[in-house]
Amino acid sequence: MTQESPTSETRRPDRAALVIAAIIAILAAVIVYSTATAHGGSATRIGPSAFPYAIAGCLFVLSIWTAFEAMRGDFPAREEQEIQPVIWVIGGLAAQMLLLHITGFSIATGLLFAATARGFGKGPLWMTIPIGIILSFIVWVIFAKGLQLSLPAGPLERLI
């Protein structure tokens, strides 16, 4: 929060927030670079590059403002985080993404299901993976057969 609090004198620069300021600045630079190197299309008075430049400009200002607040330690206090559950969930999503077209929807999504449950402390995997695959298979039948969504089929789905 931005209002003055008694502890604001003692707060140190917030490094993570400084990193955010840098990322915002990089984002702005990417927009400027990408817009400047694009060609063609600006026959109208206000062409396709005006809006990107304006947004990039605002992002630069916001980046400086963020750095300023980071130096003053104005960002809200953050809770302690555990990194392991995050890795399980991200790993599950990555596995599903990579396997989707190889093993089909049910197996890939079953792995995502089990990995997420593992991230929330539920195991063992030899139990949660089959549960996940059976559940995903039911979902596949409902949505691919019932509602005609195009969900990738694999060996399991070709059985029916």
Binding site: F51, G92, A117, F120, K122
Partner: protein, 505 residues
């Protein structure tokens, strides 16, 4: 034709057996998903969007209306029986409602929330039907400059006016605007920020972004902070029916909540929470037994719940009449319209009256269905609350990815989902609001189009943007929406604003 004739035509559409079935499926799914802890209305709508992909536009939007209202009802059940700290949509309901449930009065709390939502939904939807044609008539005179000014105002109210930091609100908004640049420029056909990747030429999908930020971001943030161990469901003891005293204490808060909530939702002010907080403090002021507040006062459930639903209906006013989404939920609904090539706004009323009025009539029908579905069947919904967290979030991720795969089964799209999910986690971690990102993504390209159209008509003369009194007023309001909160925070009044924070739906 006046509103009532049009509404009667709408009922003729809504009462067709197939459309009634769609509405019933919509409210049932909406309630079931909305009841799940950690899922607010915005995520409910985003998760259930794929269910409507293969229907015709009319049926799909009718189901959507049911999902929207159902999600609102479901959320209140959660906050009464489960004091969920992360759930933003009905924080105020949780204040008194959870206390009532703990005191063994969970039944009447659920009843006053459901009936209050019904009363508010009924009045607010009728008000929507009444004022929509007037606003449409007014909006038909709007040129690109007025639309641009209106969108700037919406940007500023959604991002900067409420919440605890102007900086973080604006940063979230500009992040959304930057994402909105990706893809082919609508007017010149030039690819922007696509980096030669064909998948990016179509731009960033609103539903992919919304699902990733809300579902995956929330899952990661809950998993990382171990917030899932401590929640306690309050059992519903005794009757769900309200006593005579409950009725006499509830009906005035319902009406007051409705009249507070609807105008706030209808103005481009973003978020439904402001109305609920206002209603809560009004009820506290007017209560005959103010000492009960904080210990389970029924007025503190009845008023805010009504305000919440009334402003949900109010949000539909700018969405349907102007095509202007003022909350994340409305932004996702706009994406739902766009998948059928329908652009909400004054022209939709002229060109597709049967769809618009069918939708409004369906909202009324859905409201009736929800009352029936929620009062006697509340025990069924309560059971959904007891799903263990690990299965719940595993299931949420299955359905979150299902929607994306169903819309576009590509590895690249899933990669974007994952990347935005991580972004959602980081935004939460550092206290950035989520809704401005989603609103910025969908409204940014629209604002750009209006700006360029205005300047093309004026042949590059920028003064056209302030050429009409309406545009000037809207822009002045937009500036105030940024500057006034900054001054208030500098003077140490930031607490009021962060209490009014328009959060995630």
């Amino acid at each position: 034709m006046d509103s009532f004739t049009l509404l009667a035509h709408g009922f003729a559409v809504a009462m067709q057996p197939l459309n009634l079935l769609y509405a019933l499926i919509g409210v049932t799914l909406g309630t079931a998903v909305g009841v799940l802890p950690g899922i607010g209305p915005a995520l409910t709508v985003a998760l259930l969007l794929p269910v409507t992909y293969k229907l015709d536009p009319g049926g799909s939007l009718i189901m959507f209306a049911g999902i929207y209202y159902g999600g609102m009802y479901g959320g209140s059940t959660t906050s009464i029986l489960l004091n969920t700290p992360g759930e933003s949509s009905s924080i105020v309901t949780a204040l008194e409602g959870n206390k009532m449930a703990r005191a063994g009065r969970g039944g009447p709390a659920l009843a006053t929330a459901a009936i209050g939502s019904f009363v508010a939904g009924l009045i607010a939807t009728m008000a929507l039907a009444l004022i929509a044609p007037t606003i449409v008539k007014f909006a038909l005179s709007f040129g690109p400059a007025e639309y641009f000014a209106l969108m700037i105002l919406a940007f500023m109210t959604v991002s900067a006016a409420f919440g605890d930091s102007t900086l973080r609100g604006l940063t979230a908004l500009f992040l959304g605007l930057a994402l909105g640049l990706v893809g082919i420029d609508l007017q010149t056909g030039q690819a922007r920020l696509a980096f030669g990747i064909p998948d990016l030429l179509d731009g960033v999908e609103v539903t992919t972004l919304a699902v990733a930020l809300f579902a995956i971001g929330e899952t990661l943030s809950v998993a990382a902070s171990h917030r899932y161990g401590e929640e306690k469901i309050e059992p519903v003891k005794g009757s769900v029916w309200m006593s005579r005293e409950d009725w006499s204490r509830s009906w005035k808060p319902w009406l007051r909540g409705t009249f507070i909530g609807f105008p706030i939702g209808a103005m481009p002010a973003g978020g439904a929470e402001i109305g609920t907080f206002l209603s809560y403090s009004v009820e506290k002021q007017l209560a005959k037994k103010p000492e009960e507040f904080g210990h389970g006062a029924i007025e503190g459930v009845a008023g805010p719940e009504a305000a919440n639903n009334a402003s949900a209906a109010g949000t539909l006013v700018p969405l349907l009449t102007l095509g202007l989404p003022t909350s994340a939920t409305a932004a996702i609904m706009l994406a739902g319209f766009q998948q059928f090539g329908l652009q909400p706004g004054p022209l939709l009323f002229a060109n597709n009256p049967q769809i618009v009025w069918g939708l409004i009539a369906s909202l009324l029908v859905a409201n009736f269905m929800l009352l029936v579905l929620n009062l006697p069947l509340v025990g069924l919904w309560v059971r959904l609350l007891s799903i263990p967290r690990h299965w719940l979030y595993a299931g949420i991720l299955v359905f979150a990815t299902l929607g994306t795969i169903g819309a576009n089964p590509s590895t690249f799209e899933l990669g974007m989902l994952l990347a935005f999910g991580v972004l959602g986690y980081i935004l939460r971690r550092f206290g950035y609001p989520i809704a401005p990102v989603v609103v910025g993504l969908i409204l940014g390209p629209m604002a750009e189009q209006q700006l360029r159209r205005a300047l093309a008509i004026s042949q590059g003369d920028a003064t056209v943007l302030v050429g009409s009194p309406i545009a000037v007023i809207l822009l002045v309001l937009a500036v105030c929406a940024v500057v006034v909160p900054l001054i208030m925070r500098a003077r140490g009044k930031g607490k009021v604003l962060s209490a009014l924070a328009a959060s995630e739906d």
